[in-house]
Symmetry: D2
Subunit: 315 residues, 4 copies
């Protein structure tokens, strides 16, 4: 029996594109579109699917609040993979529509924001309408008696809803990308690959100058590089924050493991979110080489030395 995967729908979203990139052999029947990020989490938590894909952060908008909220709260899930998908927007319309016909454009608010420059220059008189997703916009345009003339959507949405591409690349930032993560219920972690990422949420013990420096020092002294650090309210009012962190490396590595133990000891709480292969590993030709003193072998040697000196053996 094949695996089933939930994702942030409807069909034709960038999230579906991400899921297909992560699970290239999955058939359409195995993909379960959900109406919200929270519903993807719920489906995975309840075991209705084997895993789920949601957006984590966008190069233009930053973190996706709904995803971080679910990762921080609720029953824990683990990130088992990630993928970065270029955010390439296409203007879709029904067959036969020309650009001059377009008076009403629908899309997700973020998509409209990221295409504002193109729209102002090329469709200065068109009205824009915000709908719940870029795919919903395509779906709406495809319906008989559609209230909109065109949709700004992911390329994948065109085929799904039978629309014709009017213009490709209507986004203002060509390098925009969204990072998606694949979530599943707790269980065996992906094996270390040598180019991995570890995600976690740390809750600071108290609000005093230097508390955050102390926390980051737990990583720095073990030479663990942080690639992302984002404070988030804990939900207990303004002024109380937790820190969402991504670090280079796999928790199976000694240096990462010791850093996490250090964090565990100095924080109110630490929620481990997973260790998984980095999506940019392929594009990065230089493999990560830990600084002298931070390899597993260095940790092992130091442990053996500690065992010796604790027994009074010095040399």
């Amino acid at each position: 029996m094949s695996n089933r995967y939930a994702y942030l729908g409807p069909e034709g979203t960038f999230t579906e594109a991400a899921l297909r990139a992560l699970m290239p052999t999955a058939s359409t029947g195995d993909l379960v579109p959900c109406a919200g990020v929270d519903m993807v989490f719920a489906a995975v938590r309840r075991g209705e699917v084997d895993g789920g894909v949601v957006p984590l952060e966008n190069s233009v908008e930053g973190g996706v609040p709904a995803t971080t909220a679910e990762l921080v709260g609720g029953d824990p899930l683990l990130i088992a993979a990630e993928v970065a998908v270029p955010v390439e927007f296409t203007l879709f319309a029904r067959e036969g529509t020309t650009l001059a016909d377009v008076k009403r454009v629908a899309s997700h608010s973020h998509a409209l924001a990221q295409c504002r420059g193109w729209l102002a220059a090329n469709l200065p008189d068109a009205e824009t309408f915000t709908v719940s997703s870029t795919a919903a916009a395509a779906q709406a345009v495809a319906e008989p008696g559609a209230p909109y003339d065109a949709a700004v959507s992911a390329r994948i949405a065109g085929a799904r809803y039978g629309l014709a591409p009017l213009v490709e690349g209507v986004g203002d930032r060509t390098e925009a990308a969204t990072r998606f993560v694949y979530l599943r219920r707790p269980g065996a972690l992906p094996e270390p690959t040598g180019a991995d990422r570890t995600s976690l949420v740390a809750f600071l013990p108290e609000d005093h100058p230097g508390a955050l420096v102390e926390l980051l020092n737990q990583f720095a002294v073990r030479d663990v590089n942080l690639t992302r650090l984002e404070s988030r309210p804990t939900g207990d009012g303004l002024g109380t924050y937790c820190f969402f962190m991504d670090a280079d490396g796999h928790v199976a590595e000694a240096r990462v493991g010791e850093a996490l133990m250090g964090l565990r000891r100095v924080c109110e709480d630490v929620r481990f979110l997973g260790s998984y292969p980095r999506a940019d590993a392929d594009s990065d030709p230089t493999p990560f080489v830990p600084r002298a003193g931070t390899t597993n072998a260095d940790f092992h040697e130091a442990e053996q030395w500690l065992t010796r000196i604790r027994s009074g053996i010095v040399d």
Copy 2:
């Protein structure tokens, strides 16, 4: 002639409530609702208004991406004031509607998310509809032939659109709050009050382990407390981040000034976003007392000492 203020509209939003709290003497005619955060910034930048109010962060959702994007990019504006507004949701309907009549509820997606528990418990069969703001939901409910029976909105929206409150306090988190900031064009800063906040964006020089620790050390060695730290993509793709920071204190203070100079020297770039009175100063009965060695007097004494020893005067 009175001052005019832009804000994230339409009328009846939490942002209007924030603006009224910040400018209690402003009359309704001086308030200019805008359709988006970017339009508030644009109105202030073009000088069409004296200042503008936008949401900066929410205790449940975190930072407001549209606001941070505008603060980081475009012509610089300065934050001159802040206010925290409790997020209290009210279920509004047309006069005569009872709870049992409510089948279709409209609101902003964030508001619906924050009332999900209440809605599931009290209106399990109602459909929810996402519109562009909580005020737009109220406005839509108020129209003749409205497609929705009720709106989840700010209290201020009820009077504005002639709706009756069905239930107050329908949010799942009673302590939720949103922090709003008042923006204006560059010019003289608010005077230090003794309980101030300084906001800025720092662009890290390169991606190496400990770079962030070095940056935070610039604050720690001057005993400047950071109250918020949020990494944001710079917009140049995933993996390149800038850091949005709030620190206790006013740039006019020596310790804050020196920390900012240090940041300026070690960062690719630093964008100063303003020094302004803390919104929570009233509720915090204990005035901030800088640690020994970090008062203006301490800095002044150290400067005089440096002048002396540079002249070879030691005692």
Copy 3:
């Protein structure tokens, strides 16, 4: 058969007093005076004695170079105990001598330096002579046809050489003290007592700004307090230093052990010098309480947590 102990002689030195404080049941026949610190080390290394006592640091003069040189180089020995002895100087003379008779005073150069004020005020016309130790001064005064009239020595020297105390407390600093250590060949360490000290020598990897901070951070992140830090030339010319360190705690403790492993990984070399009970433990009424997060139990809990998350178990 009883144990035998070497010490920095001749008989009657402060070092003999220290040895008697450390080994109260040792008989005089078990104590082996040596002419130099290096000879004490040599006697212990060759197994001629069970252990040896040497001065490590003095509250007025600082570290004792001969001792640190021997600890850093040569076959390693371990410090197994320490004791602090008040440096109380007594002016001794032959029976019948009065203060007015004293024209020539002998002592060790350090002792003369520490009594300079008293000598200037009370024996302004006396000449001072430097001999190899305070005990040697007493010995010389006791000899027939002695070239000196009086000796500044430890109290213990008077009885040893049959001299009479002329004046007690002739030192200029009444709180002066010397810290002595008991050395023995490598072997089982003293058990942790809850108030211990760990000594070591660290060799920095290279000379770059912040290298020392990185090294000290290895202690700070594990909340291990350093009580002494002294740079010493490595002997390979000026500008190349090693760091002699004393830390609170026993290497058997998890926090100390992890700090030492960290040091081992980032340093060129680390020489462990021993973990042993603190001499000031009795005088310090408040037992050391590790900060939350640094007890053995905290380390154990964090290790168990790490084992769980490495297996994908999160809760």
Copy 4:
């Protein structure tokens, strides 16, 4: 009228050699030998001489306690220059003496310690005698009816006392060197040369974990490299230390000045000991290049930026 200089005598010491290297045009009549380091300080303090030369540290023995004690206490003097002198020991005897004749060798205790290997190998049966300086040993050997056959001394001592060199290079470590400093009363500092050193003593505020790291961070955040760090008892008993530090750079530089101000603010007390040209500047072919962000120009730019943002000017 020519300048007069005190030094640690008697004539023929390594200190005299250092003084001649520092003041090559001084005539012998201008050099005032003193019997102790404290007397050199006293002569300078009383204005009897223009300046004085004393040993500061030795590559084998470490810091010279008498010098650091005088630098830390008493009326302040400033270090105005430094020089490193190779410690090359020569065995001197009266004309006509052969190595086989040498039964009794005199020298300073440190010199004997540093020649122990040579003496054991080449004069295994000779007795050694400790006198107050290597020059005093030469002087004693030169006297009629001398109690010693040979002296281990500096080369300069041979000519002074009319002795013949028996063997040159009898030290066990050929790379040994001593660093001497030239002291004068407070007054205009030497101009910055681009390769300078700054010396100071810092008194820590209290004994808590990380206090020393905080102190060193004051240097690290301004990228000021420490070349020497030595804890010394303050003289108020064991366990209370001050830190003797050498840093690269001149107090006239912005980065050094700001670091010293930071130190001044966080320490109980800081005693500035001088900024002066590094003795090893000539031998180091690569001029020091401050890291980006720490040049005087960087500090100046940051100050101008601070002035602008304090006026609300952002760009």
